[in-house]
C-alpha cells in the first residue's frame, strides 16, 4: 500500500517543469473560450502542439512519434493536462481506436497512419451507437455490403463525438443480418471525407457537441476493413475493454477507478467552499460557520473521497451517480447564485456550479449507461446470473 508523494528524479522534475511551462503557453484563455463556445472537446492548435512534443502517445518511442516517457512521467503529463483543463475528448477516442488499428488494420495502412496520428494530424472517432440502439452496440444495424474490392455503407450513427474534427471513424457495421447477433458484425476505419458521409451537429445541455453521422451509399475500400469479415465484435473488444479500464498496470500510477466527472464535481465543491468563506448570511454570520452547511457539504466531500477509491467499473457508477445527486444538493446549499450562467453578474467563479450541474447528467450515459455497468457489476463482480432476453444472442430488428 502506498499513497506517498512520488519522489522525482532530477530529470522527472525537469520534465514536470517543462510540461507546466509548455501548457502555460499553449493553453490560453482563448482555448478555454473556444471550448466553451464549441463544446468540441478538441482544440486543433493544442492537439498539434502536444503531437509535436510526442505527448499524444507519450509512452511510444521517440522514433515512432512518441516521447518515450516512463510511467512516472506519463502520470506527470496526465495530471498536468487535467490541471490545465486541456480539451481531450478527441485525443482520447483517437487513442482508443489506435489500439484496434494496431491490432487489426492492414499493416501497411497502420504504418502509414502511425506518424500522422502521433503528430496529431490524423484523428479517430467512434462510430458505435445506432440511433435506435442505445447501449446495445452489438445490435448495430448500419449495413455494409461487399461490392468487389469495396464495401457500400448505408445507415447512420449517433454520438460520433468529434467526427467534424476527425479524419476517420471506427465504424461497426452489420455484414450478415442472418447470423447470430455478435457474428454478423464487421469493423471499418471509414475516411470521413468519403462522398455520402454527412455530419450533423447535436448539442447537449452539458455544453458539449457531438454528432449524428449519416452514411448514404458510402464506398469504402476493403483495405479499410479492420479485422476479419463478421469478426467485428472481436476487433472492437480491444478498445472497448481499454475504455472500461481493464488491464491497467497496478503500480499506483493510475486512478483507482474510472472517474466520470469527479473533477467537475470537485471544482464545484471547491468553488462553493470558497464562496462560503467569503459570504455572510443576512444575520451577519459567515456561511462557512454554519453547521448545517458544513454537515451537508461534508457529505458531498465524503462522496468524492469514496469515488476516488472505488475500483474499476464500480468507480464509474459511483462517481457519476454521486455527482448527479450531489451537485443538486450543492445548488440547494448555495442558492440562486449557483445557477447563474457564465458571464452573468454574480456568477460564482465563472458559473462553475451551473456548468457542473448541466455536465453531470451526461456522465451517467457516456460509454454505456450506468445500468449497463450495474449489469456488468452484478454478473462479473457478484456472479449473479444474466437475464436471458429475446435479443441477447439474436439480431432482432
Amino acid at each position: 500500500m502506498d499513497f506517498s508523494t512520488v519522489e522525482l528524479t532530477p530529470e522527472q522534475q525537469a520534465f514536470q517543469q517543462e510540461v507546466r511551462a509548455f501548457l502555460d503557453e499553449i493553453v490560453t484563455e482563448e482555448v478555454h473560450e473556444h471550448e466553451r463556445r464549441t463544446g468540441d472537446g478538441f482544440n486543433e492548435a493544442v492537439h498539434l502542439a502536444l503531437g509535436s512534443k510526442g505527448w499524444l502517445f507519450p509512452a511510444w518511442p521517440v522514433e515512432d512519434g512518441g516521447a518515450g516517457l516512463d510511467r512516472v512521467c506519463q502520470r506527470i503529463l496526465a495530471l498536468e493536462l487535467l490541471r490545465a483543463r486541456v480539451p481531450g475528448i478527441t485525443a482520447s477516442t483517437t487513442g482508443l481506436v489506435w489500439a484496434a488499428v494496431e491490432l487489426s488494420a492492414d499493416p501497411e495502412l497502420a504504418a502509414q497512419l502511425k506518424p500522422e496520428v502521433a503528430a496529431g494530424r490524423v484523428r479517430f472517432c467512434l462510430g458505435y451507437s445506432d440511433p435506435e440502439g442505445g447501449s446495445d452496440i452489438a445490435g448495430a444495424t448500419l449495413r455494409a455490403v461487399r461490392d468487389g474490392d469495396e464495401w457500400v455503407l448505408n445507415g447512420s450513427k449517433l454520438w460520433t463525438t468529434g467526427a467534424h474534427n476527425c479524419q476517420y471513424t471506427f465504424l461497426i457495421t452489420r455484414t450478415d443480418p442472418e447470423a447470430p447477433k455478435h457474428k454478423g458484425l464487421t469493423m471499418f476505419l471509414v475516411p470521413l471525407d468519403s462522398p455520402g458521409v454527412e455530419i450533423q451537429a447535436i448539442r447537449t445541455y452539458g455544453g458539449e457537441r457531438t454528432n449524428a453521422v449519416y452514411y448514404t451509399d458510402v464506398h469504402v475500400s476493403d483495405r479499410h476493413r479492420m479485422g476479419e469479415v463478421n469478426a467485428g465484435w472481436a476487433t472492437l473488444q480491444g478498445p472497448l475493454s481499454a475504455e472500461h479500464g481493464a488491464g491497467r498496470p497496478d503500480d499506483g500510477l493510475s486512478d483507482i477507478g474510472i472517474l466520470m466527472g469527479t473533477r467537475e464535481f470537485e471544482d464545484a465543491i471547491d468553488a462553493a467552499a470558497r464562496w462560503a468563506r467569503r459570504t455572510t448570511r443576512p444575520d451577519g454570520t459567515l456561511v462557512a460557520d454554519d453547521p448545517v452547511f458544513l454537515d451537508r457539504l461534508g457529505a458531498l466531500v465524503v462522496e468524492t473521497e469514496v469515488s476516488r477509491v472505488t475500483p474499476g467499473l464500480m468507480g464509474r457508477v459511483k462517481s457519476s451517480l454521486s455527482y448527479i445527486d450531489g451537485i443538486a444538493e450543492l445548488i440547494d446549499l448555495v442558492g440562486p447564485e449557483a445557477l447563474l450562467a457564465h458571464g452573468a453578474d454574480g456568477a460564482i467563479e465563472g458559473g462553475v456550479i451551473d456548468y457542473a450541474h448541466r455536465f453531470a447528467q451526461g456522465t451517467a450515459t457516456y460509454g454505456g449507461t450506468t445500468e449497463v455497468f450495474k449489469n456488468m457489476i452484478a454478473q462479473h463482480v457478484l456472479g449473479l446470473p444474466r437475464l436471458s432476453l429475446p435479443g441477447s444472442k439474436q439480431f432482432v430488428r
Binding site: 451507437s129 435506435e132 440502439g133 442505445g134 447501449s135 446495445d136 445490435g139 449517433l158 454520438w159 447535436i202 448539442r203 447537449t204 445541455y205 452539458g206 457531438t210 443576512p282 444575520d283 448545517v292 451537508r296 448527479i324 443538486a328 445548488i331 440547494d332 446549499l333 442558492g335 440562486p336 447564485e337 449557483a338 445557477l339 447563474l340 450562467a341 458571464g343 452573468a344 453578474d345 454574480g346 451551473d354 450541474h357 448541466r358 447528467q361 451526461g362 451517467a364 450515459t365 449507461t369 450506468t370 445500468e371 450495474k374 449489469n375 432476453l389 429475446p390 435479443g391 441477447s392 439474436q394 432482432v396
Partner: protein, 345 residues
C-alpha cells in the same frame, strides 16, 4: 401532537376546481408548444402569452372581489400553477399573483392593484428579508418594475423606471438583482403585521412554485414513460426492465405525494391558515425533490437523446432546479417544519 384526529382526508376536486384545472390545462397545452418556450429563452418571458394569460383571468383570479378579482382560493391557484408548470410557460404568473395578493392585503394603491389585476403592471416579491441594504436576486424582477420587499422597517413597495437588467440563469427565468436603494419606495405596512404579511406571501410563493414543480415533474415523467414504452433493447421495450421501470415507478410515487401535499397545504392555507402553517414549506421541499428526481430519471431513461438540447426533456430538466432554487435552500423550510413539530409534541 394529535396523530389520530378525526379529519376528512378528501382530495377530490369539486366541479369548479375541475373546471379550473381543465380550463387552464387546455389553455396552456394549446398556447405553449415547446417551440414557444425555446423562443422565449434566455429571458423566459413571452409578452404575447402574458396577454393571453391575462385574458384568461390568470392575473386577476387570485385577488379579492373588492380588488377587481374573482376571489379564487389557493386551491384554484395551485391547480393553475401545476398546469403552467406542465408546459413551463414563460410568464411570471406565480410571482405576480403572490405579489398582487400581498399588495392588495397591504393596502397598496387601488390603481396599482387594478393595473396588476389587468396584468399591465407586473409585480414581484423579494423572497429574502432585506438586511443592510444588500442586493438580492429576485424572481421575475427582470420584467417587473414593482418589487415588494420586507426589512426591519416594514413592508415596502419599490418602483423602478425600468425593470432591472436580466441575469442569465439555468432556468431561463427573468431573474434580476434587486437593489433596495434603487427607484422610489413606499412603506406599506410596519411591525409584526408587515412581517406576517411577508411570511404568508413567501409561503404562498413556495406553494405555487411547488405546484409548478409538480407540473414539471408530471411532464418529465410522461416523456420518460413514452420513451420507455417505445424504445426497445435486446428485443423488449426498455420499460419492461426493472432497471428502467422501478425508477419511473419511484418518480410517479414521489410526484403523486408531492401533488397531494400541495393540495392539502392549499386547503389548509385557505380554510385553516393558522392550523398547519408549515405545510406549504413541506410541499415545497417535496415538490423540489420530486421535480429534481423526475427530470433526471426521465432524461436518463432517454439515454443520450435525453441529454440533448433538442429533446423536450431538456426544457424541464433545466427548469426543475432553475425554478426551485429561486426559493433558496429547502433546508430552511425543513427546519421550520421540524420546529412546528417540536412545538406540537
Amino acid at each position: 401532537m394529535e396523530r389520530f384526529e378525526l379529519r376528512r382526508q378528501d382530495l377530490s376536486l369539486d366541479d369548479d376546481q375541475q373546471a379550473v384545472r381543465e380550463g387552464f390545462g387546455d389553455f396552456f397545452t394549446k398556447q405553449v408548444p415547446s417551440s414557444l418556450v425555446r423562443d422565449a429563452e434566455p429571458l423566459g418571458f413571452d409578452a404575447d402569452l402574458w396577454q393571453r394569460v391575462v385574458a384568461m383571468g390568470g392575473t386577476s383570479m387570485g385577488l379579492p372581489e373588492e380588488a377587481g378579482g374573482d376571489g379564487a382560493t389557493l386551491v384554484d391557484l395551485v391547480l393553475v400553477a401545476e398546469e403552467l408548470g406542465k408546459v413551463v410557460a414563460p410568464v411570471p404568473l406565480v410571482s405576480h399573483v403572490v405579489a398582487s395578493r400581498l399588495l392588495a392585503r397591504a393596502g397598496g394603491a387601488d390603481e396599482l392593484v387594478a393595473a396588476a389585476a389587468e396584468g399591465e403592471r407586473i409585480v414581484t416579491l423579494a423572497l429574502q428579508p432585506v438586511v443592510g441594504g444588500n442586493r438580492q436576486l429576485v424572481p421575475d424582477a427582470a420584467v417587473a418594475r414593482d418589487v415588494l420587499a420586507w426589512s426591519g422597517e416594514g413592508l415596502t413597495l419599490h418602483t423602478l423606471a425600468e425593470p432591472a437588467a436580466h441575469v442569465p440563469n439555468q432556468g431561463s427565468t427573468p431573474l434580476a438583482w434587486f437593489d433596495p436603494a434603487a427607484g422610489e419606495s413606499a412603506l406599506l405596512a410596519t411591525g409584526p403585521e408587515a412581517e406576517q404579511l411577508f411570511r404568508t406571501a413567501v409561503a404562498e410563493w413556495k406553494l405555487l412554485t411547488a405546484a409548478a414543480l409538480v407540473g414539471i415533474a408530471a411532464s418529465a415523467l410522461q416523456l420518460g414513460v413514452e420513451f420507455a414504452k417505445s424504445r426497445r433493447t435486446l428485443g423488449v421495450a426498455i420499460g419492461a426492465l426493472q432497471g428502467v421501470a422501478f425508477p419511473l415507478a419511484d418518480v410517479v410515487t414521489e410526484l403523486s405525494g408531492a401533488r397531494n401535499l400541495v393540495l392539502k397545504a392549499a386547503w389548509y392555507a385557505t380554510h385553516e391558515p393558522d392550523a398547519r402553517p408549515e405545510l406549504p414549506l413541506a410541499a415545497f421541499v417535496q415538490a423540489a425533490h420530486a421535480a429534481t428526481e423526475a427530470t433526471w430519471v426521465s432524461a436518463h431513461v432517454q439515454g443520450g437523446l435525453g441529454f440533448t438540447v433538442e429533446a423536450d426533456i431538456s426544457l424541464f430538466f433545466l427548469r426543475a432546479k432553475g425554478w426551485s432554487v429561486l426559493g433558496g435552500d429547502p433546508g430552511q423550510d425543513r427546519r421550520q417544519v421540524a420546529a412546528a413539530l417540536l412545538a406540537a409534541v
